[in-house]
């Protein structure tokens, strides 16, 4: 036991091994969180859609209690036995409440099992590859859609750093100094998947969908890149971890209420930053191919768009890729504009004084809460706004956003020149 412990310490003391092991651990964590959030955002999507349209949505896919029978539960209704055990009357308030929650028939999951079951269904469905497709590209396309968002997540910081006595751990898989650019570059590569899916399906509607997706993606990438420049000018760094640290110290980009954030200069800069936020969020919607910008898969004129010919797990890859892009987009908005992992109001520094591990845990939870909130916003917009027309989408990008972004950069430069 002692020798194993000393051996572990020796391995960790080697900086290369320390780096490898911590990176692998962070990688697994980030990957698990994203996949969990993909499932969770599908559930949020359907529940919020139900709520907005005044219907329940998927709320019933609980674990039925008859599953317990093979494990020796002879009772048909375990609930009545349980009530008896606690001495509750079988038609009292508690019993009726339990029955209203369907506790007598199933273990409630509030519909959370629904995405899992959908996934299982897609996994078990028959896989059909039409004869007329270009097979290699047809198989490659879903991978190219699902892969990039997962890789792009590597630079998103999910908590601050910890100093262990083996070395410093920065809570972000790859603490690159080109953070936002990495996300833009890598998530931009998923356009290959959409294009190839449209082309390799070798049929009319997928092809049109693929072309639309390509044009929209490239256009909005330009606007997205230009729209964050004011923010980078204000913070003066491309490292996401440093940007979030700045926000933790002196106020979130959109909520400068503590530290240096209370100063007048910061509030003068609020205008360009708010414009930048609006543009960036809209571009993220367009990049994630979500309503009101889902021109590439708009059912009314394109059947299903680029994934019309896909079935089973290949379709599920497109589906997951879209939601993964949405999660990463939300993570970027949260990181750049809403303070990332920072709890705010100087709580971070206070927590870090108590215990760094506690601070990291709280910040991680805070980050997930913010992420969930923004995903909710995403879904809310989808079920509120109708779909735009194709020419409106293109006009919005080329005639409004790019001009506005350039003017915004100039405005920020002027303000920064007079402030400093």
């Amino acid at each position: 036991m002692e020798t194993i412990w000393t051996w572990c310490c020796d391995v960790l003391r080697n900086p290369q091994w320390f780096y490898l092991i911590t990176t692998a651990a962070k990688l697994v964590l980030v990957f698990a969180v994203i996949l969990a959030f993909v499932v969770l955002s599908v559930w949020i999507e359907r529940r919020v859609a139900g709520w907005i349209q005044d219907r329940p949505g998927p709320n019933r896919a609980g674990l039925p209690l008859f599953l317990l029978r093979p494990f020796g539960s002879k009772e048909k209704q375990p609930l009545s036995k349980l009530l008896q055990f606690f001495g509750c009357p079988p038609d009292g308030i508690i019993a009726r409440l339990c029955r209203w929650l369907r506790l007598d028939r199933e273990i409630p999951t509030f519909g959370l099992m629904q995405p899992c079951l959908d996934g299982g269904k897609l996994f078990l469905k028959q896989e059909i590859t039409p004869k007329y497709v270009r097979t290699i590209y047809f198989i490659m396309a879903p991978m190219l859609v699902l892969g990039p968002p997962l890789v792009a997540a590597a630079v998103v910081p999910f908590a601050s750093g910890v100093d262990t006595h083996f070395g410093h751990i920065s809570m972000c898989v790859a603490n690159l100094d080109i953070g936002p650019l990495w996300v833009f570059a890598v998530s931009g590569l998923s356009v290959y998947g959409l294009t190839l899916a449209g082309w390799s399906s070798n049929s009319k509607y997928p092809f049109l969908g693929g072309l639309r997706a390509t044009a929209q993606f490239i256009s909005y990438e330009v606007a997205m890149g230009l729209s964050v420049i004011p923010l980078l000018m204000v913070y003066g760094t491309l490292n996401l971890q440093e940007i979030v640290q700045c926000q933790a110290d002196s106020g979130w980009t959109l909520l400068p209420l503590w530290g240096e954030g209370m100063s007048l200069q910061r509030w003068v800069l609020f205008l360009p930053l708010a414009i930048s936020f609006l543009m960036f969020a809209t571009c993220i919607f367009a990049e994630a191919n979500r309503t009101p910008f889902d021109m590439a898969e708009c059912e009314t004129d394109l059947v299903g768009g680029y994934h019309t010919e896909y079935s089973s797990m290949k379709f599920a890859s497109f589906f997951m890729g879209e939601y993964a892009a949405m999660v990463i987009g939300s993570a970027m908005v949260v990181t750049l504009f809403l303070g990332g992992w920072s709890i705010g109001f100087g709580v971070d520094a206070w927590l870090a004084d108590c215990s760094e591990w506690l601070a990291v845990l709280c910040q991680f939870i805070m980050f997930l809460i913010k992420l969930l909130a923004f995903i909710f916003f995403f879904v809310w917009v989808r079920w509120t706004l109708p779909r735009f027309r194709w020419d409106q989408v293109m006009k919005l990008c080329w005639l409004v956003f790019i001009e506005l972004a350039v003017v915004n950069i100039a405005l920020t430069a002027v303000i920064l020149y007079f402030v400093h």
């Binding site: 650019l181 390509t214 490239i218 990438e221 760094t237």
Partner: protein, 208 residues
């Protein structure tokens, strides 16, 4: 022969980049050619990353792989180019091509071999990579004497993930907007002229 892991990575990536570059010319399906080119850009970007020039690497991906090549692909698909027709070229065509290619290869080889420090298979840019971190950016002490040409070369630099700093992006930006600002602006205007020309060519002529 002791090869550092970074040297092995460099050679593997370089070989892959060369292979995919050959694929651009050799493959028959235009879409495969375009994708092979994207792969080549990716490998070149990876080599840049390995040398610590992460900004240039990411610019390579954003601009070439993410935008330019997608437009290529877009156009190939729009025109629906079928299999490339076998070229029934004359001998003159072949000979001119070979001569041109040979001259270009000669230029590159001479330039590379003439670099100070490129003797005995050593990496001529090592000194750049090593000094990247220590250059005092913004401070006026840029007068550090340059290393003597003999010491330019060396083995390929070792990878050090934590050390690669933002100095790459900063260095590039400061050079581009101070030393080369006029060149940069002129190039920008050249591109603008190109864009205006394209619009002029693509505009529909109204006949009435």
């Amino acid at each position: 022969m002791d090869l550092a892991i970074s040297a092995i990575i460099f050679y593997v990536l370089a070989a892959a980049a060369l292979l995919s570059a050959v694929g651009v010319v050799a493959l028959r399906n235009p879409v495969s050619c375009a994708l092979s080119m994207a792969l080549c850009f990716g490998f070149v970007a990876a080599i840049f990353f390995g040398m610590g020039a992460s900004f240039i690497g990411i610019a390579q991906i954003i601009i070439y792989a993410g935008a330019v090549l997608v437009l290529f692909l877009f156009i190939i698909m729009m025109l629906d180019v079928k299999q490339e027709e076998p070229v029934s070229g004359s001998h003159w065509f072949c000979i001119t091509g070979v001569v041109m290619a040979g001259m270009l290869a000669g230029i590159f080889c001479t330039a590379t071999l003439r670099l100070p420090g490129a003797t005995g298979g050593r990496c001529p840019v090592r000194v750049l990579v090593e000094n990247l971190g220590e250059m005092n950016l913004g401070n006026k002490s840029q007068t550090t004497p340059p290393a003597s040409p003999a010491s330019y070369g060396g083995a390929l630099p070792a990878l050090c993930p934590e050390k690669h700093g933002s100095s790459d992006a900063r260095l590039l930006g400061e050079n581009l907007f101070s030393h080369y600002s006029i060149t940069f602006a002129v190039l920008g205007f050249a591109l603008l002229a190109g864009a205006v020309g394209a619009v002029a060519l693509g505009r529909k002529l109204h006949r009435d």
